[in-house]
């Protein structure tokens, strides 16, 4: 029986009550061939160092809890196979976010940006349940379906160079979510959201890095949403001079 494979994990640690700054701590872990990065982190917590704090839940890449930097790149640790990496693996909290503890970041800023695009069905008149469902063709569903797949893992925010420099920027996932509602045939809130897209934290801060779409684990393609939103915001602004606002359809 050959020796179990071992890998070195260099993990960022930070306890605000004890550390001035985040520091690194190295662990040597016996690994199984089929493990994801998350399995190694859980092994460290269970068997080596119970003081390591990290978020995780579903372990099937749908809850969005376990986003971290692995060897400098934003990843979902429950999805990334250990076998894709070498013998030393560096795990850090997501970039561009304030760090609460170890690998745990503060996502309340993200929650505010999400809320800020008014991500719900806006209609002049809400339908009553008795009137039945809206008619929506498969083509109409396909218009926005891709942008509705975001699991809020925030890897796109960690990758975006604009988020690093402009605190007000709404950011890829929030813009994609707002755009998703703009494209939904049941929604009537385009004018309102396009105004938000042109306002503070404007979509025009995006400078075409495309990193958000490169790191997205769910193929949402937020870069497409942001750039489509730019075009829509301009068209909407121009149209507002020609077509009077106020008064829904």
């Amino acid at each position: 029986m050959s020796d179990q494979d071992r890998k070195k994990f260099v993990i960022t640690r930070f306890d605000p009550d004890r550390d001035d700054e985040p520091r690194k701590q190295t662990y040597e872990v016996p690994v199984e061939p089929y493990w994801k990065v998350l399995d190694a982190l859980n092994f460290i917590k269970d068997e080596i160092d119970p003081t390591l704090s990290h978020r995780w839940s579903c372990r099937m890449a749908v809850c969005g809890s376990c986003g971290m930097l692995v060897n400098g790149k934003p990843s979902l640790t429950c999805k990334d196979a250990l076998s894709d990496y070498g013998d030393t693996i560096e795990v850090e909290p997501l970039s561009n976010f304030p760090v609460i503890r170890d690998l745990v970041i503060d996502l309340d800023g993200f929650m505010e940006k999400l809320h800020g695009v008014r991500p719900w069905i806006i209609r002049a008149k809400q339908r009553a349940a008795e009137e039945g469902t809206y008619r929506q063709s498969p083509e109409e569903l396909e218009q926005f379906r891709q942008f509705s797949m975001c699991i809020n893992c925030m890897l796109c925010y960690a990758a975006c160079p604009v988020v690093a420099n402009e605190p007000a920027f709404i950011g890829p996932a929030a813009i994609a979510l707002g755009h998703r509602y703009n494209l939904d045939s049941r929604d009537e809130g385009n004018a309102e959201r396009n105004g938000i897209f042109r306002g503070e934290g404007t979509v025009f801060s995006c400078s075409y890095a495309n990193e958000c779409s490169e790191v997205c684990p769910k193929h949402v393609d937020p870069a497409a949403a942001v750039n489509q939103a730019k075009i829509n915001a301009v068209i909407d602004w121009a149209a507002s001079f020609v077509v009077p606002r106020g008064g829904g359809e």
């Binding site: 850090e92 970039s95 561009n96 760090v99 990758a159 160079p161 990193e211």
Partner: protein, 146 residues
Amino acid sequence: MAGAAHPDAMQPSRPGRTRTARPQRPPQFPFRGRYAAYTLFDITGVLYLLVGFVALRVVWALGNGAAAWHEVQRELTHPSYVAFHVIALISVVFVGVRFFRLFPKAQPPRIGPVKPPPQPVILGFLYAVWIGVAGLMTAILAGGIS
């Protein structure tokens, strides 16, 4: 390396009740991995600023009579100007290609009943217009200068 991000990056409007560590920029930013191309893409803006100054100089000379015009023409044949323009041309092509790669993504899936044409058609059209207009401009300028 990458270093610290803006201290308020992703900060909520009311700071949390525990002390947090400062946000860090993506480690590969600005010169490693895919960020290298992005940083280059943004830096080319400096070149266009300089091209703008050159254009202003040429236009000023136009308004100042034939002697000034010929003077500027002579200056522009200097090797360093030529080198500068070659670099500017390369950067324009680089930016153009990168931008055109993004362009199909920015098309809405549908406008009413109309779908955008497939990606190769859009790209073909963009390049055709670009090369066509560039060719036309070159012909006019080459023909206009004797």
